[in-house]
Amino acid sequence: MRLIESVRIAWRSIRSHRLRSALTVLGLVIGIASVVVFATFGASIEAEIVGDIEGSSASNVYVFATPADDEDGGFDQVVQPAFTERDVEALASLPGVTAAIPRGTVDANSLTHGEDTVARQRVTATTPATFDEDRIVAGRGFRSGSAEVVLNERAARTFAENVTVGDRLTLSLSGNQTRDLRVVGIVNGTAGGLPVSDFAEGSRVYVPVDPFYRTVVESPSVGVRQRAYPQVTVVTDPTGIEATRTAVATYLDEESDARLLVPAGTEPTARTSGDFAARISSVIDRVTRFVTGVAVIGLVVGAIGIANIMLVSVTERTREIGVMKAVGARNRDVLVLFLVESGLLGAVGAVLALPVGIGVGYAATRYAEVGFTLAPGWMATAVGVGVAVGVLAGLYPAWRAARVDPIDALRYE
């Protein structure tokens, strides 16, 4: 018997029970579609976040202290100021490095714009190199040694009246000192921030290290007190990032002040945005796999539906099987016939589930306001699993059908 004939006869059988077949397929569609939806949504979120990180900071090596036992590329940052001015200069002079941008915080109380005062616990102290031309929305970066301030867009909107370049702000520092600052720029991000701050962008206020940053420690190597920072961002060429990271790590391990200044149980570390992306990816991946795994339950339920309906079908068609055997059908023909029928149910389910899954996945990404990314691997898996589920679910019923005794079957009412 030719396979095409099996498909033809099986299709006839499916079509002759339209409602029953439709409901069976629907069960499978729901199962496969949920797998596709969750996989697509997970892939979209991952792509969005990883894309943000990598797109904005592919040329950065982040230097900070982490717990010493943090082996898996974590970003658990220790905020102890350990990287001295000397470290920053040494990092900046490593081969291939364009800039080393220190970053620290200055404790504050509030920030006033005109009549409007908002509470502000800290502002970010950094150097002019942190301002990337591409990310300046208005004005320019601040100059070192001046009473200038740069806000990100969100900070600029914190006040009743939006802050614009040229406005004056009054920063109230801890210890009741105040500083008058001139707003010189509005940015939508900086080179020096950790990648995480780009997609979870809070309100940021940047002031120059000189004169605002006052945290000092004694440099163990030079023996003088100088500024020390919890974090330094080393900017380099994206193509040479791994070489730079190695050079930075070597310096940190062997010569830095930081290696002596970091708290016990921590060590200075160099991380790239790639590490960060990989870390985020693996977390999202785990969540996606879990949620998709839950959706697989739907698939199993769909499979049971197919098995159930095929068993009913075998019983219903016992006499038909007897007739087919009497007119020359071999056991194998009957087996294949039923397998093809259940496989077809699975395939139809899979084919219908794909657009449904992609559609709902797309809607979910729109709702979550992330870019839409397909997960072709998962989709292929879902379809393959659909057909496999159909065939598997049909295996036992088909085997039962093939074993039907034609004599009994012909007598069967």
Partner: protein
């Protein structure tokens, strides 16, 4: 045409079916002997009726000759194939190509049209679709249903359905047509017309074995094999004389 029971036990090239001392026992709690040593042969072109009360073993006989079952002992040969010696797979092929079944309840597939029902045995024989359709149409025309080819069984009368079933039995050009109470589910007049079709098949040279419990149906054949308690009681030749076994 000679009805031979013992003589037919030796293989004869002119015999479509040869049964030699065939026994069939069923194990249903105890052992039940459905056939207790039957020898019979069906010469090519013969028309044989099998009669007997229910439980006489005529259904078992039919199942064995139809290659649906295998004997417990003895030999059953159909169209030169030893039924008990070949695989299930080969028996299926034998049923598909050398034997045409006609059942009391027609046993047409409701989903298929008349022409598709007739072509069904050819599906399993691997005959291409167009060829099947042509052959089925031809046969439907022969049984007087040339205008009903695309009807489903439910749209046909009992007599028409049985004629579709007969066309199906003939589609593979079998060596033997087996009919099990073919008039059992139709009225007398329709039954008579169905039997006319068998007469025509016989006249055209087909070998027919028909199982019935009705005397007037059996009398259409050229001999009647009487079965009782799993044994051949006698063979009645209808061109005049009657011969006891």
């Amino acid at each position: 045409m000679t009805a031979s029971s013992d003589a037919g036990a030796t293989a004869d090239h002119d015999d479509v079916v040869t049964l030699a001392d065939v026994r069939k026992t069923y194990d249903v709690g105890g052992t039940v002997e459905a056939l207790a040593g039957v020898s019979l042969s069906l010469p090519t072109g013969s028309y044989t009726a099998v009669m007997g009360p229910s439980g006489s073993g005529k259904s078992t006989l039919l199942n064995l000759i139809g290659a649906l079952d295998t004997p417990t002992a003895g030999r059953v040969a159909v169209a030169g194939e030893e039924v008990s010696a070949v695989s299930e797979r080969a028996r299926a092929a034998l049923r598909g190509t050398e034997i045409g079944f006609v059942f009391q309840t027609f046993n047409l597939l409701a989903r298929l049209t008349a022409v598709e029902n007739v072509g069904l045995p050819l599906v399993f024989a691997g005959v291409p679709r167009a060829e099947r359709r042509d052959r089925a149409r031809e046969l439907l025309a022969e049984v007087g249903l040339g205008d009903r080819t695309d009807h489903h069984p439910t749209e046909l009368s009992g007599g028409q359905r049985q004629r579709v079933a007969i066309a199906r039995a003939l589609v593979a050009d079998p060596a033997l047509v087996l009919a099990d109470e073919p008039t059992g589910n139709v009225d007398t007049e329709t039954g008579s017309r169905v039997l006319d079709v068998f007469d025509r098949l016989h006249a055209a040279g087909n070998t027919i074995l028909l199982v019935t419990h009705e005397r007037h149906v059996a009398e259409r054949a050229d001999r009647i094999v009487h079965v009782r308690d799993g044994e051949l009681e006698r063979i009645e030749t209808l061109d005049g004389g009657e011969r006891c076994d």
